[in-house]
Symmetry: C2
Subunit: 214 residues, 2 copies
């Protein structure tokens, strides 16, 4: 970005910032910054993300970002946490009545999410985004959360079988890999991906059918 | 890095390096440094890895490391490349005669590798090791390499079907996830993991049986 491009925004900022702050509630401002942050952090390496540019895009001062997020790292972690919370809300927090319905809706929502957030999904899942054990942990605990959502649907005697847990973890990895493959190639339909996921899950559960009989 | 820190190392190199170099061939020294580097880079964050400590463990000067690897980052990338080359040599470069035999041996070798190199495998696959699009690319191209090794075993008309490619990518993700689950829990046997992998692959190929009929 050139200085020529920046200057008008800075002027606009000086003039507009106080009024802008009146326009958005604290919650709405936070959400706006998180959305801008996610876009920036998933599009470029951490070190190259400019908080000045994000502040300018939001029409606020850089200091205001630090009011919401004490450090750049805090801001970065908060954008990922918000993205993961959105992802989970869209995919596994369905209120549908039956387990199968929840599964169908969840898979639909999953591939929808991947389509709408391809860049950030790929950046987070490929680990290209951070050199950070904390991020790995965040992604891993998301997987555990999804695993628990599936396990809770199973008969109690099946829930704690290590073989089934391994298979379900594998299935979550399978889903991630097919989603990343879709982002790279986009030559398989949403419906085909969903069917592939369902059939694979059915095959895995079928192998442990004995566990489902009390 | 301060000048004060650098000076003694240069002196040490001038005094000790010639004798050390006589003890190990260039190739053996490089391998020794790569092994020490891999252990260090997968055990701690990149910034905390001390080349001084690695040099000490190898009985060489820090300067000698830079003789082999011009920068810390070059060293780091080389350790990962060597680990990936080892991994591929152990798992997919089998000389066995039949495709099924290659698959069985490959799976055995895969879970053996995961067991022997649990820390570095987990660090690389979880992305905790580097904030680096280059590392993501390296891991991704390893997956592509494995995919190609599987696809080459398939009848030609099946090889380019996007649905089958997606399924096989999914299977590779499945394998990674079960391996990481094993590293965390170690409550499922090597044989069970192998059987799970084979059955899942069979189910995925079975779904595309039509592609195998000419």
């Amino acid at each position: 970005m050139t200085t020529a491009l920046r200057r008008p925004r800075s002027k606009a900022k000086r003039a507009a910032a106080p009024r802008v702050r009146e326009r958005l509630t604290v919650g709405a401002r936070r959400e706006q910054l998180l959305a801008l942050g996610l876009t920036a952090f998933t599009a470029q390496p951490y070190d190259e993300v400019s908080l000045d540019e994000i502040a300018r895009a939001a029409g606020v001062s850089r200091a205001l970002i630090f009011h919401y997020f004490p450090t750049k790292r805090d801001f970065y972690m908060a954008t990922l946490q918000a993205a993961i919370a959105d992802f989970l809300a869209a995919t596994v927090e369905s209120k549908a009545d039956s387990p199968l319905e929840r599964l169908f809706l969840g898979l639909d929502a999953y591939f929808d999410y991947v389509e709408r957030h391809a860049v950030s999904y790929a950046a987070i899942m490929r680990g290209g985004i951070g050199s950070d054990p904390e991020i790995s942990k965040m992604v891993d605990s998301t997987r555990t959360h999804i695993l628990e959502k599936i396990r809770v649907e199973l008969p109690e005697q099946a829930r704690d079988a290590p073989q089934l847990r391994t298979a379900l973890r594998g299935w979550i990895g399978f889903m991630e890999a097919t989603a990343l493959d879709w982002i790279d190639h986009r030559d398989v339909s949403h419906e085909e991906l969903k069917e592939l996921a369902l059939r694979t899950l059915a095959a895995l559960l079928g192998e442990h059918a004995a566990l489902f009989v009390t």
